[in-house]
């Protein structure tokens, strides 16, 4: 029981958060606006965590992440708005999930297409390719009239609510954590830390980079799908370079190479501009100033490569019997971290 609690308490925290928010809303302390800010925070956490997989853990530099988000948003919205419109209530959830899945797949597929040639490039060059990719997606979406062109898509059913977003956010973080503490995650980190050595140790660096890129694109696609179904309206210009740079800011302010950092960075920096609204015209200047101060005093980001216990899997955890706590012999090892 204790072990069960230990394993699942992060998920329980999210559930508790949800219950608390729902209660506060029902007594009128929180209004729809706060809820929406929380939903965007959840989506931004998914975006930042997936970007972290590429930039923070695999050591590549993707600066067009909003491009994948827009592909997912449009992919999902086409499924729910055009292919299956006005479905009866019981079919709404399956259609919604199908839409998110399609959005993720579209993003991952395009991710593979641009990743194959460009992940052989290093550093700055990859950044330029991904930057161009984000802008090309935006330019093309503006041209396609059946999905609204530059005016955007309207009338998307608002299937996504806080519960769905918290669910997908938790699932994403759980899966990403597992991945990072697995042979795949280790291969990503090896490529980040020393690509020549990773290659010399038998790691097919191109393959692993593409894997990482596609996983990140898929998650960004799902996050985009959720975004579309929160706002009920999307337009190509919502996914401009400014949006991509937001995720980069969340990532590096939180600390690249740390999932905890992505959570903190995205959550705090989504909420901060809203809190600063009382400053009216000075809001963005103060926001930027706070960022500058954070980066000056903690250049490695808020978390700087460190993880909270539930976002980390220690070596000692391998020797714990499921559901019954660890063996004595091995607990000595974990003490040394």
């Amino acid at each position: 029981m204790k072990k069960l609690l230990k394993t699942f308490y992060p998920a329980l925290l999210v559930v508790a958060l949800y219950i608390a928010v729902t209660l506060l809303r029902s007594v009128g302390i929180l209004n729809g606006y706060y809820i929406q800010v929380m939903m965007f925070a959840g989506i931004n956490i998914m975006m930042t965590a997936s970007l972290n997989l590429v930039n923070g853990f695999t050591g590549q530099f993707c600066i067009g992440h909003a491009g994948f988000m827009s592909l997912g948003a449009y992919g999902a919205a086409i499924v729910t708005t055009m292919l299956f419109k006005n479905v009866p209530a019981f079919a709404q959830i399956p259609v919604f999930l199908l839409g998110l899945f399609v959005g993720g797949c579209v993003a991952a597929l395009i991710g593979a297409l641009i990743g194959l040639p460009s992940l052989k490039l290093k550093g700055d060059y990859l950044a330029i390719v991904t930057l161009a990719f984000g802008e090309i997606v935006r330019a093309i979406l503006r041209l396609i009239q059946p999905i609204g062109g530059a005016r955007g898509m309207i009338g998307i059913p608002n299937y996504a609510n806080l519960a769905w977003i918290l669910f997908f956010m938790t699932l994403t973080l759980y899966l990403l954590r597992n991945l990072i503490y697995s042979p795949y995650g280790r291969a990503f980190i090896a490529i980040r830390d020393n690509e020549i050595a990773a290659d010399a140790m038998g790691i097919d660096t191109t393959r692993y980079k593409i894997t990482s890129f596609c996983i990140a694109a898929f998650i960004a696609g799902v996050a985009g799908g959720l975004y579309a179904h929160v706002l009920a309206f999307i337009q190509p210009d919502s996914f401009s370079f400014t949006k991509s740079s937001d995720f980069l800011v969340y990532l590096y302010a939180g600390g690249s190479g740390s999932l905890t950092g992505s959570i903190l960075g995205a959550a705090l920096l989504t909420v901060l501009p809203e809190i600063l609204r009382f400053l009216t015209d000075w809001r963005l200047a103060v926001y930027a100033a706070i960022l500058v101060i954070v980066m000056l005093y903690r250049s490695e980001g808020l978390c700087g490569g460190k993880e909270l216990p539930f976002m980390r899997i220690s070596r000692a955890a391998l020797y714990e019997k499921p559901l019954f706590g660890g063996r004595k012999k091995d607990s000595a090892v974990s003490g040394k971290q």
């Binding site: 597992n178 697995s182 995650g185 090896a190 830390d193 020549i196 010399a200 140790m201 391998l318």
Partner: protein
């Protein structure tokens, strides 16, 4: 047939011939040392033997299989791994993880299992961890398994590079200056370690080194390079006494002054 058969290996960088007509054949279980002054082309030979450089001409055969044109990770998969002269560890990962990273090519857990962290996947991770720990134990690094690689002292970083290379299950281990920058006592420890690895793992070793007192007791054969050319090869004692070797290392005139 020899385990490794290198014939007429030549590489040109523009007009510069860095390695000229290098021939080497290594039997299973042998320990061959490649020595020579700075800039002689030793590391360039290693870079060709691990696929980092593609030779301008010549052949590399491992167990009779042609290796030229393969990528570095494919060389590692066929069984040639190396350590680096200027240490290249995965510095922000732990010591244990560094070694585990070298096991990636033998990983049999697919992406879905890794995402879901299934019981089978955890069991395989545990088996891997036990193997890594026993390897670290033999190299005297077990008590530092959870340190970050970048926080290890220099000598331990060299050991970790060797541990990592061994984890790929190599047929041939290439050690690029394993005692560079070490003091005499460390040098003796490393000589013991290399001999022990050779015995315990039955691995064939080719090493590059400057320190004669490190190479002499452990090498079966020595090759001497100078300006990209092989100027002498044979048993350690014979090579040490070869006037061409002495000239390459100490310059002409040394013998004439009666100091040899």
């Amino acid at each position: 047939m020899s385990l490794l058969e290198v014939k007429n290996l030549t590489i040109m960088f523009g007009g510069l011939c860095a390695v000229d007509d290098f021939n080497l054949s290594v039997e299973k279980g042998e320990l061959v040392a490649v020595i020579g002054p700075n800039g002689a082309g030793k590391t360039t030979v290693f870079n060709m033997l691990t696929g980092i450089y593609r030779p301008t001409s010549g052949t590399i055969r491992l167990d009779g299989e042609d290796m030229v044109g393969l990528k570095p990770y494919q060389f590692a998969r066929k069984g040639i791994t190396r350590t680096f002269q200027n240490i290249r560890l995965f510095s922000n990962a732990s010591v244990a993880d560094n070694v585990k990273m070298a096991h990636t090519m033998h990983n049999d857990q697919d992406l879905a299992k890794c995402f879901l962290r299934t019981f089978g996947m955890v069991a395989s991770e545990r088996a891997l961890d036990e193997r890594v720990m026993s390897l670290l134990e033999r190299l005297g690094l077990a008590d530092k398994a959870d340190f970050l690689a970048k926080n290890l002292p220099y000598g331990d970083q060299r050991r970790l590079e060797i541990a990592r290379a061994l984890m790929t299950d190599p047929k041939i281990l290439l050690l690029d200056e394993p005692v560079a920058g070490m003091i005499t006592t460390e040098l003796e420890d490393m000589a013991q370690l290399v001999a022990q690895i050779r015995r315990d793992f039955g691995v064939t070793i080719i090493l590059i080194e400057h320190h004669m007192n490190f190479v002499m007791p452990i090498a079966d054969r020595i090759m001497v390079l100078d300006f990209g050319k092989t100027i002498a090869q044979g048993l350690p004692a014979a090579v040490q006494a070869d006037p061409r070797v002495i000239e390459a290392y100490l310059g002409g005139g040394y013998q004439q002054n009666g100091n040899a």
